[in-house]
């Protein structure tokens, strides 16, 4: 059943590296991560790769496969032609640690800068009441598995390290949108924060993040654009802003 296929895998570290060629067995139904594991087990036991669940739920095995950002565990070998060489490289936006493992600490720093959920002061645990239709909008964003493929593919920081301090990236725009749309979040300034502190203005809506999202979250349409639009509303119309404070929806 198996066939032998050609793989090119980037090996190296912060000091530099190169693509290394392998010939490796591939069986029916396998995914790219299976092949990386086979290389580890049979040819290169020190080949560095992150992975956990192997089912597209944890977002650990993000890599670039033939130049396209994706999850190793969700990229089936059957999408490649028989003779096609599969080239696997680390995420380009983040510094390489070793082989396919990159330093993604940028994302954790940005997470710590994001103001947390603010619980409503007047409700005790067990007293929260929310309509399904109202939580669904935020639930879409909470599907995020933090694979950081959207961060990796975003051209604002992909080839512009200098933008990193000012720009939180799509993953944290959906976090802002999630909290903004949370029916009981006590803060009313999520949109302002997105613009003033997260660098939402850098985004010019090319939708690259949406295209690579393995959870199919409509990052641009459902999070970024509404955030941008509502910011415009609010900034130019003090009545809208006031209204949103007074008539906060209590399901």
């Amino acid at each position: 059943m198996g066939s032998v296929r050609k793989f090119r895998v980037w090996r190296g570290d912060a000091a530099g590296g190169r693509l290394e060629d392998f010939s490796v067995e591939v069986n029916e139904g396998e995914v790219v991560l299976d092949i990386i594991h086979r290389l580890q087990a049979t040819q290169a036991p020190d080949l560095a790769v992150r992975w956990n669940c192997k089912a597209g739920k944890c977002g650990s095995c993000s890599m670039e496969i033939n130049g396209k950002p994706g999850l190793g565990c969700m990229t089936r070998m059957s999408v490649f032609a028989d003779g096609e060489t599969v080239t696997v490289t680390p995420l380009r936006t983040f510094p390489v640690i070793r082989d396919l493992v990159t330093d993604v600490s940028f994302n954790y720093v940005k997470a710590r800068e994001m103001p947390a959920f603010a619980p409503p002061a007047d409700l005790k645990p067990g007293e929260y009441r929310m309509k399904q239709v109202d939580v669904e909008r935020s639930q879409e964003f909470r599907k995020c598995i933090e694979c950081f493929l959207c961060q990796n593919t975003c051209h604002v920081i992909r080839d512009h390290d200098d933008n990193k301090p000012a720009f939180a990236g799509p993953r944290f725009f959906i976090r802002a949108a999630e909290l903004d749309m949370h029916p009981l979040d006590a803060r009313g300034d999520r949109k302002e924060t997105a613009v003033d502190e997260q660098g939402l203005g850098y985004c010019n809506i090319t939708k690259c993040c949406t295209e690579v999202c393995p959870e199919h979250i409509k990052i641009t349409d459902n999070a970024i654009i509404p955030l941008k639009e509502r910011v415009v509303d609010r900034r130019y119309d003090p009545l809208v802003w006031l209204g949103s404070k007074i008539f906060r929806r209590t399901a």
């Binding site: 036991p45 956990n52 669940c53 089936r76 640690i97 710590r112 947390a116 009441r129 909470r142």
Partner: protein, 641 residues
């Protein structure tokens, strides 16, 4: 002493899944300087894989539910071998732990009146599982992760609560019998790090990576179990492993990956290759009264649970796994060696997409199967270890000779008895994670002098961890791992027998020796071969405990099935099997009595049910006790607390 990075904490939590994060939150809220050591990146722990939900008797969907019903279901599921006090605390405290998550920002699915929705699950009498579609574990881990970030924001930094990501602990350090610290290494650099601390919470999860077919992630190498043993703590009932009935069986590369029980809770049924819905043939006597006898009654239950009994597809997991095993063995399996799980022919496509979005996604992308149109091929997969660190039920403190060690979540034992109900894991890790953090903090408060980590032990730990890197021409750790998995899968798997268990113990001795001689070329920076070589030590030690206990227990109960002793034996219900490690590293196993269940808790059961589990002597004593205390068995006692 070896030169290495040093940190000092009040409480160190090893493991960053649900239990570890909840413990850390509690320790920090108690004012303790707390560290979380995570083997993976922050937020990637195996908890994300939990799909179905967190069981908590909130009574939002069926108001008849309460902690007593939940307690009863948990004890039944565990075949009465559970630590009753843990099951009691769990049932009572789970609702508060779930509601608390909403104050951290969790967004569960809702009932029409806006409360947290609850779903049906195997072994639970009422809809009880708080859930978010079929990605509840992700919601839990993200919520706890974000709560930790919010505490760090309150503190203006991570001095009081810090996450050490991609860091693996290799040894615990003792000052006499007291915990004094832990040694670990950063995966990224291979550099070692010393944590000086008087209190450690183990929250490292399970052991599934010792099996070939498993739903568990690479982290599940029994680290906490082995660390506890080597520090003088004890493990109980390691023979009980849960083989989840529904793992993917095709394609081969995804074999073992979980298919959530919610598929059955939401209407899916099991069929063999003849198209027969076979579970009706496998309802054991102890469950006969609670399960439907006809397809018609079973199908009515989904809409009218008050007047119909449950479908047998929702029997506890051990029963369903054994049934599937038997069907395949009898030649009625699918081409890939499983059975069919069919929801396509029973529910509309929109319903399936709404209720099971991540299952749809998983099958579509990994197997090219549309579950709204075709059945899934599934079979049992090693999923959860019921056994684990023996703990005090109230404080989560580890038993044995060690002080200052606590354990919560899958790494601890007792709560689930011989078999865990689906949904009881997420609630377990919240309830006992909180307790472990709370009592670890209290232990530190009451401490007289702070223990000191002996320098020689630090040096020895570093040297042992480095050995596979410096050793030349040894075996490839991946080869040894594969052999270990084969031994456990074939000889200590879902159905066990004496001769095979004896054989496994011999082979494990060989494997232990081979593991001592592996080499891992390639240097210290993020070297998976080296990491595996270190993990193998833990895997083989814990596997030996499982094999020893499985050989000792001559009965079949929950997650332990002996072909040569197929019946459940009431005498064995009184026995916990307890493992420790001796001076020379050898596993010692003793029998200890199971704690006696308090009379008012026993009164929650009908006498006819207790007869299925208890010896005549116990029943005789029970008659005396109930006559003088709570009156008739079968009448729920009032909650006295």
């Amino acid at each position: 002493m070896t030169e290495l990075e040093k940190h000092s904490y009040d409480v160190v939590v090893i493991g960053a899944g649900g239990a570890g994060l909840r413990a850390a939150i509690e320790a920090r809220l108690a004012g303790k300087k707390t560290a979380i050591i995570s083997k993976s990146l922050f937020g990637k722990a195996h908890t994300v894989m939990a799909e179905g939900g967190a069981a908590a008797a909130m009574g939002n969907v069926n108001s008849k539910d309460n902690w007593m019903v939940h307690f009863r279901d948990t004890m039944r599921g565990g075949k009465f071998l559970n630590n009753f006090r843990m099951a009691e605390l769990h049932a009572k405290e789970a609702p508060d732990r779930v509601w608390e998550l909403e104050t951290y920002g969790a967004l569960f699915d809702r009932t029409p009146d806006g409360r947290i929705s609850q779903r049906n699950f195997g072994g639970h009498e009422y809809p009880r599982l708080a859930h978010v579609g079929d990605r509840t574990g992700l919601e839990l881990i993200r919520t706890l992760q974000q709560k930790i970030v919010s505490l760090q924001q309150e503190d203006g930094g991570d001095d009081r609560l810090r996450v050490f990501a991609e860091c693996t602990v290799t040894d615990l350090l003792l000052d006499g019998s007291r915990i004094a610290g832990a040694v670990g290494y950063y995966r990224e650099t291979g550099e070692f790090v010393l944590f000086e601390t008087p209190a450690i919470v183990l929250a490292t999860g399970g052991v599934g990576k010792s099996y070939k077919v498993t739903s568990n992630s690479w982290e599940y190498t029994g680290d906490g179990h082995a660390l506890a043993l080597r520090a003088g703590a004890t493990l109980i009932n390691m023979e009980f492993l849960q083989f989840h009935p529904t793992g993917m069986v095709w394609p081969p590369s995804v074999k073992g990956i979980l298919v959530t029980e919610s598929v059955r809770g939401d209407g899916g049924v099991l069929k063999n290759s003849d198209g027969k819905r076979f579970m009706f043939d496998y309802v054991p006597d102890v469950f006969r009264k609670q399960y439907a006898e006809t397809e018609e009654e079973a199908d009515r239950w989904y809409t009218d649970p008050d007047n119909n009994r449950r479908p047998p597809e929702l029997l506890p997991r051990d029963e369903v796994a054994r049934a599937i095993n038997a069907e395949v063995k009898a030649g009625r399996g699918t081409p890939a060696g499983g059975v069919y799980l069919d929801i396509a022919s029973r529910r509309p496509a929109e319903y399936i997409l709404k209720r099971l979005p991540s299952m749809y996604h998983q099958f579509k992308e990994l197997a090219d199967v549309d579950i709204t149109e075709a059945p899934m091929e599934i079979g049992p997969t090693c999923h959860y270890v019921m056994g684990g660190v023996e703990v005090d039920p109230d404080t989560a403190a580890a038993g044995g000779t060690v002080e200052g060690l606590f354990a919560a979540g899958e790494v601890s034992g007792g709560m689930h008895g011989s078999n865990r109900l689906g949904g009881n894991s997420l609630s377990d890790l919240l309830v006992f994670g909180k307790r472990a953090g709370e009592y670890a903090a209290l232990y530190v408060d009451r401490l007289g002098s702070r223990p000191a980590a002996p320098a020689a032990a630090v040096d020895a730990a570093v040297e042992a961890a480095l050995a596979p890197l410096v050793r030349e021409n040894g075996e490839n750790p991946f080869d040894v791992w594969s052999d270990l998995q084969q031994v456990m899968q074939d000889l200590v798997g879902i159905i066990r027998r004496k001769s095979e268990l004896e054989e496994s113990l011999k082979l494990l001795v060989d494997l232990k020796e081979r593991i001592g001689k592996v080499s891992a070329p390639g240097g210290r920076r993020f070297n998976p071969g080296w990491h595996l070589a270190i993990d193998l030590r833990n895997m083989v030690l814990v596997s030996e405990c499982t094999a020893r206990a499985a050989l000792e227990r001559e009965e079949s109960r929950g997650g332990h099935t002996r072909e040569d002793f197929p019946q459940m034996d009431a005498k064995w219900r009184q026995v916990n099997l307890v493992c420790s490690v001796g001076q020379a590293g050898e596993v010692e196993l003793v029998r200890k009595p199971v704690p006696t269940i308090r009379p008012e808790l026993l009164a929650l059961f009908e006498l006819s049910e207790l007869k299925k589990y208890m010896t005549d002597e116990e029943l005789a004593m029970l008659g005396d006790a109930s006559a003088e205390s709570t009156g008739r068995p079968g009448q729920p006692a009032k909650d006295g607390e």
